[in-house]
Symmetry: C2
Subunit: 343 residues, 2 copies
Amino acid sequence: MNDTFLKACRGEDVPYTPVWIMRQAGRYLPEYQAVRSGIDFLTLCKTPELAAKVTLQPVDILGVDAAILFSDILIPVEAMGMRLEFSDKKGPVLTEPIRTRSGVDRLVIPDTEDAMPFVIDTIRILRRELENKVPLIGFSGAPFTLTTYMIEGGSSKSFVHTKKMMFQHPGLFSMLMDRITTTVVSYLSAQINAGAQAVQLFDTWAGALTPEDYKGFVMPHVKRAISELKKEGVPVIYFVNECAGLLDEVKKCGADVIGIDWRIDIEKAIKRLGKKVAVQGNLDPCALFLPRERMEDRVKDILLKGESAKGHIFNLGHGILPETPVESAIAMVEAVHKYGGKQ
Amino acid sequence: MNDTFLKACRGEDVPYTPVWIMRQAGRYLPEYQAVRSGIDFLTLCKTPELAAKVTLQPVDILGVDAAILFSDILIPVEAMGMRLEFSDKKGPVLTEPIRTRSGVDRLVIPDTEDAMPFVIDTIRILRRELENKVPLIGFSGAPFTLTTYMIEGGSSKSFVHTKKMMFQHPGLFSMLMDRITTTVVSYLSAQINAGAQAVQLFDTWAGALTPEDYKGFVMPHVKRAISELKKEGVPVIYFVNECAGLLDEVKKCGADVIGIDWRIDIEKAIKRLGKKVAVQGNLDPCALFLPRERMEDRVKDILLKGESAKGHIFNLGHGILPETPVESAIAMVEAVHKYGGKQ
C-alpha cells in the first residue's frame, strides 16, 4: 500500500512528498463531465456507484497519493432538515435560511447511516475498489463554514446575516454552532467507521472573521470537533482558507495537519504554526496556468520550504479550477514526485 | 481648520485620533438614497454639484475628520477608452475586457482635465464648500485592482483571466500595468492640483495574489505610483485589502499611510509594518451591527493598539455596508473621538 500520505500526516519519514488536489474529482476532467452530463449534481453525490467512480478517476489519471470522497459539503446540512437546491448560476441554495431560535430548534442531529446511507455505501465501494492502492480521505465542511451557508442561505460576500447573529444573538449562534459541530463529528466518525483513513474539515469561510472573533466564536467548536475525532484514530486535517491573519489561533486546534491557502508564504506559515503539526498546501490554483517549467519552479520552491515542517503534504491552496488543463495537473503531480523527497 | 487627519498621516502629534469611513457617502445614508433615487449611479459620479453634495453629507451627519471625493474607481478606466456599464445585479461591467496586445494598444493615457473634467469640478466645489472644515481626500483604484477589472470585465472570484495574462504573457501584463500606473499618477496629480489634500490608492484585490506574485508583478508599479505622487507634496495612503499575507512587501511601498483590512490584528500589523509609516483601519464593517457598548469596546481596543504606530487614522477595514444603521456609524465616530487620544 502507498501510505506516504498517512505517514506525512503523522510527521513520519516518507520516501517522497505525497500530493493530492482539493476538488481533484470535478469539472476540469472530461471523464467527470461525461458522468455528470447524464445526471444532476446532487443525484451524483447520492448515487454510490457513480460517486465512487468519479472519486477514482483522478487517482488513475493524475497519480495522486490519496483519494477523497466525492460529495458536497452541504450534504449533512440537508440531513439536518434544510432544503438544498443547486442553481447553475448561484450555486447551492438553502431555501429557508436559519436566523431565529425556532429555526435552530427545528434542526436535527442526523444519524449518518439512516440519513446519508449513500455516503457510507460510497466509502465501502471505494475501499473495496481502491484495494489499498492509496488511502481514502473523508471530509466535511467545518462548523463555521457550514453555519454561514445555513444562516446566509447560500454563498455570501460579507456574511452580514452570519455576523449579525454572532454579534446580536451570541447565545443562539453558539447553540447553532454546537449543533452543527455535533453533526460534523458524528458524520465524520461514521465515515471513518465505514473506511475513511483520514478526514479533512474544510473551513472555506473562516477567513472572513477578525482573529478575535475566530478565537471566540469558532475555535472552541473546531477544538471540540477535532479532539472528539482524534479518538477515532485516523489523521485529522483542518483546512483554513484565507488563513494568514488567523494562524496564531489555528495552531491551537489540535489537528494532525493544517491546510493553508496560497495567500501566505508557506515558510512563514510553518514558522508560525510550529513543529507539532504537519502542513498541507499551498500552490495557487492559478499556477496551473503557468508554462510547465515555471510551474515546476513554484512546486520546487514550496517543496523546499515544506521540508521545515513536521510533515508536508503537497496540495493546491484551494480547489482546482474548472478551467485548469488536465495535463498541467498531471505535470504538477509528477513534479512533486520527482522533486519532493526528505533525505 | 481641523487638520487632525493630515497630521496623523504624517505621524505628527494629534489631540485625538482622526476617523473617516471608506464609502462614507453611500447607500446606507437615506440622504444619499434621496439624491440617488432621481439619477443613475454613473451620472451622479459625473454631475459635480450632486457628487459634491453626497460627498459632504457624511461630514455633517457623522462628524468625520475628512471628506473623500464621491466617485467610482472605474472612472479613469472608462477614460482610457473602455465602455463601462453598471448593472444592479452584477455591479460594474466593462463590456470589452482586455486580453490581447491590440486591446492594450488601444488604451489611451487620458488627460484628466479633458477626459474627466467633472472630477476636477467636483473637487473645486468641495474645497469651496468645505471651507477648510476638514481636508478632502482624492482617490483612485490602485494599478493592480484596476487591471483586474480591465482584464476580467468586472468583478471576479478567482481572477483566472488576470493570472493567465500575468503567467502566460508577463510582458503584456506589465505593459498594461505600466499604462494604468501612468494614468493613476496623472489622474491623482490632477486631483491634487484641483485641491485634494491627500490621496488614497485602493488595492481591493491585491489579496488574491501570492506574496511572491504581489512582489514581482504589482509592487514595482505601486512603488512608482507612490514615489511620483509624493512629489506633489500631500500624504499618500495605500489601502490593501486582505493584506495579512502581504505586509512584509507592502511595508516597502513608500506611502505615508498603509490602510489595512480587519482580517489581521492591528497590533501585529503595526509590528510588521514598522515605525516609518502611519496605519489606517481596521474595524470589521460588520462590527457596526454590534450592540453599542460592545462596538465601543472594539473601537477602544483598536485605538489602544493603534497608539504603537507612527500615526493612526481610525477607519473600517473595508467599505461601510449598505445594511449599516446610520446611528451605529455615528456612534463609532463619537467613540473614536471620545476614547482616541495620544497623550
